[in-house]
């Protein structure tokens, strides 16, 4: 450190900032003693140093942690101990009650213990519940079908006065008989509403249920066929149409004239129920190989399901034969 005219100010500033070592401080003090002209300069710089100013933070106690919680715990513990010790009987009973409480907790925990045997029972119970639940579900679906059939039958009965003459005429194949049974114009009027309803029902089915394409196609054909009849057509034309319809059915059960009336009535029932915004019902062709199988809300492709069952049965047979060998 060399003190001279060019460096003294920096060194004096370091001196007043207490950034010099003790040895350096002594050197500065010696320099000032040797050069009194610099004493004023040092004094002026020292005047820029702020003296201690005692300002107190007024909310110091608020910043501190209050240990009242520990004090409170200690106080209550002392009080409780004193109370318990004051009554010897209470002290014993208190201890005993604590022991009993602990024992009862242990018993409760043990009673809810989970071992392998209980797990097996629970699994079997769950399987039984699923099985019976499924059975109940299938029963309810069958009953729904029965209900729909009964609705269809009732509606058929209602429509019978209008439609049965047509089936009769179909069996006889004579238009003259029809004319002789009732008025021609009246018959046309009685049939036309049915054809219109069938058209509506078929259209609704086609739009709403895409998975049942075959059935809807049949109904569409039926509706197209029925739509060919106009109010100006004669009963004879209607006869021809009604004869054509059974040919479109593959199911031998529904090939006769009566199922036609049932199906038409059923469609009519669907359409009327749809108009009311209620549940719709339909007849499922159980022998159709491509039909969709419904289990609860799940749709399963019939072919795939059959394939799976065949594979499973084949696998089981193979196992059985292996065991026998």
């Amino acid at each position: 450190m060399q003190l001279n005219e060019s460096t003294y100010e920096t060194i004096f500033l370091l001196y007043i900032d207490k950034e010099l070592s003790p040895k350096e401080r002594l050197e500065v003090e010696a320099f000032i003693e040797d050069n009194p002209s610099y004493a004023l300069e040092m004094e002026a710089l020292q005047a820029t140093v702020l003296s201690s100013d005692k300002i107190q933070y007024p909310f110091k106690e608020n910043l501190k942690l209050q240990d009242w919680e520990e004090d409170l715990k200690a106080t209550y513990a002392t009080m409780l101990k004193a109370d318990v010790e004051a009554i010897p009987g209470l002290s014993t009973s208190f201890k005993n009650s604590l022991k009993k409480e602990t024992a009862s907790e242990a018993i409760i925990v043990k009673s809810f213990g989970f071992n392998q045997q209980k797990f097996t029972y629970a699994a079997v119970a769950a399987c039984l519940m699923v099985f019976f639940g499924y059975q109940q579900l299938t029963k309810s679906s069958v009953s729904d079908l029965a209900k729909s059939n009964s609705i269809a039958t009732n509606l058929n009965k209602e429509l019978a006065p209008n439609i049965s003459p047509i089936t009769t005429t179909k069996s006889t194949g004579s238009s003259e008989t029809i004319v002789s049974n009732s008025n021609k114009q009246a018959r046309v009027n009685s049939i036309n509403p049915v054809t219109k309803t069938i058209q509506l029902a078929a259209t609704n089915l086609q739009a709403s249920n895409s998975t049942k394409t075959q059935r809807s196609n049949l109904l569409q054909q039926e509706s197209i066929a029925m739509a060919e009849t106009t109010p100006n057509n004669s009963v004879l034309d209607n006869q021809v149409v009604m004869k054509k319809i059974p040919r479109t059915y593959n199911n031998p059960i529904t090939i006769n004239a009566t199922p036609l009336t049932v199906s038409t009535a059923n469609i009519d029932a669907e359409s009327t129920v749809d108009e009311k915004g209620l549940t719709t019902y339909e007849v499922i062709d159980t022998e159709d190989p491509n039909r969709t199988i419904y289990i609860a809300n799940f749709e399963i492709d019939g072919n795939k399901f059959r394939g799976i069952t065949r594979r499973v049965s084949a696998f089981l047979k193979r196992n059985k034969s292996d065991k026998e060998k």
Partner: protein, 162 residues
């Protein structure tokens, strides 16, 4: 840091932090808020702060909060210096002190903080550099400039005062 150590920090450093802030911003309520925030932050981070570094941590936090406060409010010369309590020793010293404080208040915020931290808290250049996020040489240069300015201002005030 234990609860006891935290309470000791409050006892030892709350006044210093408050003085540093209140001398800088000259607004008692805002200074109290800043001090409270600084101690709150110390309490939240007490697990990471060593007791020996607590003072530096408190001043650092308080300084940065003060800078934020100054930037947000931009209201440095708000209240009068008279709002800060003083303990005058005698008339001459009081006059000199007032003149010096007047000169200090005319410094820019960085220079003012440097002078306050150096003179009131006795921090070294290195410690001030850590608190104010400056280099050691910057602290030295800025502080020396501040001293020269103060000396010139005091010499300018002296004939007027006399």
């Amino acid at each position: 840091m234990t609860d006891k150590a935290y309470n000791e920090c409050v006892d030892n450093f709350a006044d210093g932090v408050y003085r540093f802030i209140v001398k800088n911003i000259r607004h008692t309520e805002d200074a109290q808020d800043i001090v409270q925030s600084a101690f709150e932050k110390l309490w939240v981070n007490r697990a990471q702060v060593l007791p020996e570094k607590a003072k530096s941590y408190l001043f650092t936090v308080a300084y940065h909060q003060m800078i934020d406060h100054i930037r947000k409010s931009n209201k440095m010369p708000l209240s009068d210096e008279a709002s800060i309590p003083h303990q005058p020793i005698n008339q001459a010293q009081t006059e000199l002190k007032e003149l010096l404080m007047r000169a200090v208040n005319e410094l820019n915020p960085t220079q003012k903080s440097l002078v306050l931290l150096k003179d009131y808290e006795g921090y070294s250049y290195q410690e001030i550099a850590e608190i104010m996020n400056l280099s050691d040489s910057q602290v030295k240069v800025y502080l020396h400039r501040a001293r020269i300015i103060l000396k010139n201002k005091l010499s300018a005030y002296a004939p007027t005062a006399s």
